[in-house]
Symmetry: none
DNA sequence: AAATACTAGACAAACAATTGACAATAGACA
DNA sequence: TGTCTATTGTCAATTGTTTGTCTAGTATTT
């Protein structure tokens, strides 16, 4: 197989664990036993990295490291499969209230410094410690929201805001990558309608849904109703999620949304979220779209459509 | 096999490594053993250049040079494959002339089908088979260009065009991340100026430059001159690359570009590329910006600014 | 003459390993 | 409830390694 030998630093990058933890897991529980160079540096194989990832997931799900570290890798793989299949979050560790905000602050710091690497690292670590949904709801979503107001404040520059948007966007896209391999998940089309240029909200939805086992077709920002409907037809999607942020009083929006509902096959779910939904509330009611004020509510709505 | 022999300068150009590093890798780890001229100048073969590229990628991925430099080239190739996540067959260099267009066609097919997974897979495979620069220049760039005209044709829908843009964008961003910097590479700021909404060209530049060893700060689309300059100052960037695609006759562009040049520290490189540069040519000359018609030319320009 | 390339040796910053100590948490038990 | 204990992650200090960069001096190419 592959002969890769990763230094501990590379393992840190891939697993999101700290070097401290990796070493202490080895010392105390013999979780992995990496080779050593002639000068005593650890060298990890792909298998060992995978094992560490599995251990990370198991502990994140509430298992104690002392127990799972002794299990063979096969068993860990089965556990991971079972856990993701059940979708039932066992006893997800409740993070401290200020733990999420520490990540938030760290992320903001990286944004100010225009430091891609650190920003990504913070997001990945939040992903590991809070769980993907926790990271999305308590770090990424607040960050996405804060960017706008901080920029209006003058607390951050437009360049920093753009920068953060791009990095966040990329992270969400890859985090949402959830192997669509199985192919028979329900399909969700995500986009923002014509005139709505802010796409971060839509990306959050896409990442969140993908993490919960939807196959997401993400179409980006500012797409006419007919196009969205076309994509739904082509992909036989079960539901559509739109995000409305700004502007809040686009007169053409009503026409767009009505048209979209007309063009969608009967039975297709239509979920609309984002800052601006309050302003468009009457329209949503009229066309029977389900509003979702925030990410948790969106997920529960998605769950209903899944059946 | 081609019998070309490259002087170290050419190798620097193609790999993004410094001459110092190339020599020290040879001395300390016998990474490559180039021929010598009668007067002791190093001469590198294509195979050796490829090997250096593989070593560069492996080290950027976190493997230590001391370990990987001793591995046979075959193993390095396999590792590059594994790292890019493709289970693809290890096609050797010298791609057929139409191989790139086969990838192009396959990519287009995936776009029509709105199939994220396949589209990503095609890009990854192209990456491995043609090399990163080959993939960028012969698949991604043509695809980015084609999307616009195909959409105007009606050959593809706007939804498909949006979809392709997003997937391509994400792939380029992560591909560029793989080469994430160790910290002391020269910094390049990439963006599109106010009014220019198409960012795919800028992303291509960013990915390409990152692959050649720049630390790229990517700011996305439509940013005012003052903001771009601010980011340059903050990051102490050596150069700025802008992409102009559409519109081709924005009257405010001249003001923006002039202002940008004024705000940039003396000595900062200013490179401008994209479909629309012909239309803005007089302005570019006026402010002393270097035009770059295509990706290969951009890279050689970047090379000049490196020092 | 100026730019480029070569060697050798020195250097500093980043990276790793080890150890021992510490703090937070959960569960057990009185 | 409070106290004890085992578990777990974190931290600091120290030592050693790895790696890219730099300088100086010489030679070659353009």
């Amino acid at each position: 197989m592959s002969q890769s030998h990763y230094a501990i630093n590379a393992v840190v990058r891939r697993t999101g664990l700290t070097a401290h933890v990796i070493r202490i897991w080895e010392k105390r529980y013999q979780a992995v036993q990496p080779e050593r160079t002639a000068t005593n540096r650890r060298l990890y194989s792909d298998e060992q990295v995978e094992r560490l990832e599995l251990l990370r997931d198991a502990t994140k799900a509430g298992q104690s490291i002392g127990v799972v570290a002794k299990l063979p890798t096969d068993t860990l793989r089965r556990m991971a499969l079972a856990a993701s299949g059940a979708g039932a979050p066992a006893r997800q560790k409740e993070a401290l209230p200020d733990e999420a905000s520490a990540f938030f602050e760290a992320a903001l710091e990286a944004v100010r410094a225009l430091d891609t690497r650190v920003l990504e690292q913070v997001l990945r670590r939040a992903d590991v410690t809070l769980g993907t949904q926790g990271m999305l709801q308590r770090v990424a979503a607040p960050l996405a929201q804060a960017l706008g107001s901080l920029w209006r404040d003058g607390t951050i520059t437009a360049a920093q805001e753009h920068f953060a948007t791009v990095v966040l966007r990329t992270y969400l896209a890859t985090a949402a990558q959830i192997f669509a391999a199985s192919g028979n998940e329900p399909v969700l089309v995500v986009a923002t309608p014509s005139g709505q240029l802010h796409e971060l909200g839509a990306m959050l939805v896409a990442a969140s849904a993908a993490n919960l086992g939807w196959r997401v077709i993400y179409l980006g920002a500012s797409l006419p109703a007919a196009e969205i409907a076309g994509a739904v037809l082509q992909s036989r999607a079960k539901a559509v999620a739109l995000s409305l942020v700004y502007p809040e009083n686009d007169s053409r929006m009503e026409g767009e949304l009505v048209r979209l509902r007309e063009l969608l096959p009967a039975g297709t779910g239509l979920i609309i979220g984002g800052r601006a939904i309050a302003a468009y509330r009457p329209i949503l009611d009229k066309i029977g779209a389900v509003p979702a004020q925030d990410l948790p509510r969106l997920l529960s709505v998605l769950d209903d459509f899944r059946k």
